[in-house]
């Protein structure tokens, strides 16, 4: 009840986070990686045999060797250079250059993405996000088809979508802010994958709450809209612990990936952590509260 009564406060927090995220994305933009822009990305790591020299500033040396590129630390010991697209010969030259300026390092990864692949990824990303959103609305509307009073099942789907939109925008905004202030935090194919997983996962908690609303409505005889906010409020508090716990176990597993997992999936797990927390918040505080608002009648 507390949540539904004070829904304006919870909305406000969501709206602030949402607006800040949109602002960050509009002002600073996302830091798109070579997956989207095309280009070459070179990762260097210290040779197995050599001890890491602290006298050489590896970042500066690499920046000097690739003046057009963006250099940053990657993981504990490695460095990453993102530059324009290099063809096979250019790659050989780049390897040779690194071997010369940084003899204690070696190229451990070298990715080149041409513009065709970048365009394709953009198209596929947009398509899959739209398809996932549509599929989820359809599915929720279908799953809740028997509960059309006092709120039609489409509104459950609509409330879920608003909540989902919120869940996707917040991690994007978070990455825009982090990229602006700290560099890195690139948007790549894995980033989009993480957003899609957030979409699929956030809806879990929303479904748990809605499912309880569905059950409580079926038990109750009073189907008037004035009664509806009480039913939703009761459903939210009844399911509160499980909503938090189901997300918590997943976040715990993700924290393990973030801390101990390989560098490649570090940002990926971060997007998921932020997205899932935003998702749990929105299913508890936004999705269900929206249902009440959409029911039309104020308390």
């Amino acid at each position: 009840m507390f949540i539904i009564k004070n829904r304006v406060i919870f909305y406000t927090l969501s709206v602030i986070l949402f607006v800040v995220s949109i602002f960050a994305m509009a002002k600073w933009g996302m830091n798109y990686g070579i997956d989207f822009k095309g280009g070459t990305s070179i990762e260097v790591q210290p040779n197995a045999s050599s001890t890491v020299s602290t006298t050489v500033n590896v970042k500066e040396v690499l920046q000097g060797a690739f003046p057009e590129g963006v250099v940053r630390a990657y993981g504990e010991k490695n460095f990453l250079v993102n530059t324009h697209e290099l063809d096979a010969a250019g790659q050989v030259a780049a390897r040779a250059k690194i071997g010369k300026v940084l003899p204690t390092y070696e190229v451990s990864r070298l990715d080149t993405i041409g513009p065709v692949l970048g365009d394709e990824l953009k198209k596929k990303s947009v398509t899959s996000i739209i398809l996932v959103l549509i599929a989820i609305v359809l599915f929720i509307a279908f799953a809740f088809r028997q509960v059309s009073r006092p709120v039609s099942s489409w509104k459950y789907g609509f409330a879920a979508i608003i909540a989902l939109f919120h869940d996707v925008v917040i991690p994007m905004g978070f990455f825009a802010i982090m990229a602006h202030f700290f560099g890195g935090y690139e948007v790549d194919a894995l980033f989009v994958t993480a957003l899609l997983v957030v979409l699929g996962f956030s809806v879990h908690d929303t479904i748990v709450v809605f499912d309880r609303v569905r059950e409580n409505l079926n038990h109750d005889k009073d189907k008037s809209a004035s009664h509806f906010d009480q039913v939703v409020g009761r459903s939210v508090s009844e399911t509160f612990v499980r909503s938090v716990n189901t997300s918590l176990t997943t976040v715990l597993a993700l924290i393990a990936v973030y801390i101990w997992g390989p560098e490649t999936t570090r940002n990926f797990s971060l997007v998921l952590i932020v997205g899932i927390i935003a998702g749990t918040y929105s299913s508890i505080f936004v999705g269900s509260a929206l249902l009440v608002t959409m029911a039309g009648k104020k308390k």
Binding site: E43, Q45, A88, A89, Q91, V92, S108, R109, L110, D111, T112, G114, P115, V116, L117, D119, E120, K124, S128, V132, I136, F139, A143, L190, T193, V197, L199, G200, F201, V203, H204, I207, V208, D211, R212, T239, V241, R242, N245, T246, L248, T249, T250, V251, L252, A253, L254, I255, A256, V257, I259, W260, G261, P262, E263, T264, T265, F268, S269, L272
Partner: protein
Amino acid sequence: MNRTRLWAIIILVIAGLFALYLQKTHITNPFKLGLDLNGGIHLVYKADTSKLPAGEVTGSMATLKNVIEARVNAFGVSEPIVQTEESTLDGQKVNKLIVELPGVNDTEKAVELIGQTPVLEFALVRESTSTTATTAPSLIPTGLTGRYITTAQVEYDGQTGRPQVGMVFNDEGGELFAKITRDNVGRRLAIVLDGVVISDPTIQTEILGGKAQITGQYSVQQANELARSLKYGALPVAIELIGTQTIGASLGTDALHASTRAGMYGFIIVGLFLILWYRVRGIIAVIALAIYTIINLVIFKAGGIVMTSAGLAAFIISIGMAVDGNILIFERMKEELKRGKSRAQALRDGFARAWPSIRDSNISSMITAVILYTFAASPMIKGFALVFLIGVAVSMFTAVSISRTFLLAITKENK
């Protein structure tokens, strides 16, 4: 009651056997590792199919795949992957060729071996008003290309003794060649190799029998190389390298170790949380989770699923998600107990009532996974989606059936 105990024991025995299988096959049949964990080269080519009639694209791509496979096999790489992929971009079909060479590190050499194979075309020369030899003649494609060649070998000119390359067309190519020569007697037919006109003899008469020669100023060695590449490597369509990925073996090993470590710690943290929060039921959930892990690993191994770092991340996330079903059930059981039901009844009702939300939420994740898999732009994402899908599907079974059996087995049937 005895029956559920029996089932619980059967499940434990089967899980034990699975674990034994995983342990026994650890060396003989290890998990398939993707390039990012194993090191190697991933190359993406775009095939230029714009000149082909629509009906021939599929066939040409299949031929292309075979030709590249033959070349890659000659490279001596263990378990290379060559595949073609069709996608639509801006309403146009893009045909791609993807080559994966595990354990190889020399991109330039690999690219050279795969890509620099000749594209052979026969084209009619459009006679222009200017006949100066320096002007590049405009060519009219005839549709006869290297893909119709069945064999090529070095021959020697009967008069001059110079080496030349003789080609034999397949039936279709032979007919096409006969038709072209029949219809164009008196015109010049250019033999174009990689966009360069090698020779452009004038057609004297219709040529039957499906044979042709390339005569040029070749040394015996050059003629040999040309014949070999025409025979094994004349590409039916031109390909252009649009993406490469080279991963060092040590980086892959590090990533694999990090993923394994993250998986172990992830399991322990999730398990500790469950036991601290749900006590005895938490222990049951952890056993179910261990069985879940074993079943997944058996599927990965038996199904030959290629593991990538993204796939392993999906697996670890799925460990966190697999217990969601348990949490929903346990919370529901608490409610049923509060309503004054017996433990056994609360357990049965808890499972029954929690099922719709478990089913619905897992279906939404499976929808995401299927869409992700269908539109995956890289093998890494495909790997993620596949592992995620398997994980969610298996968790619906383990979180519900297995936990339920164990809980019933330890619950007394008294009121």
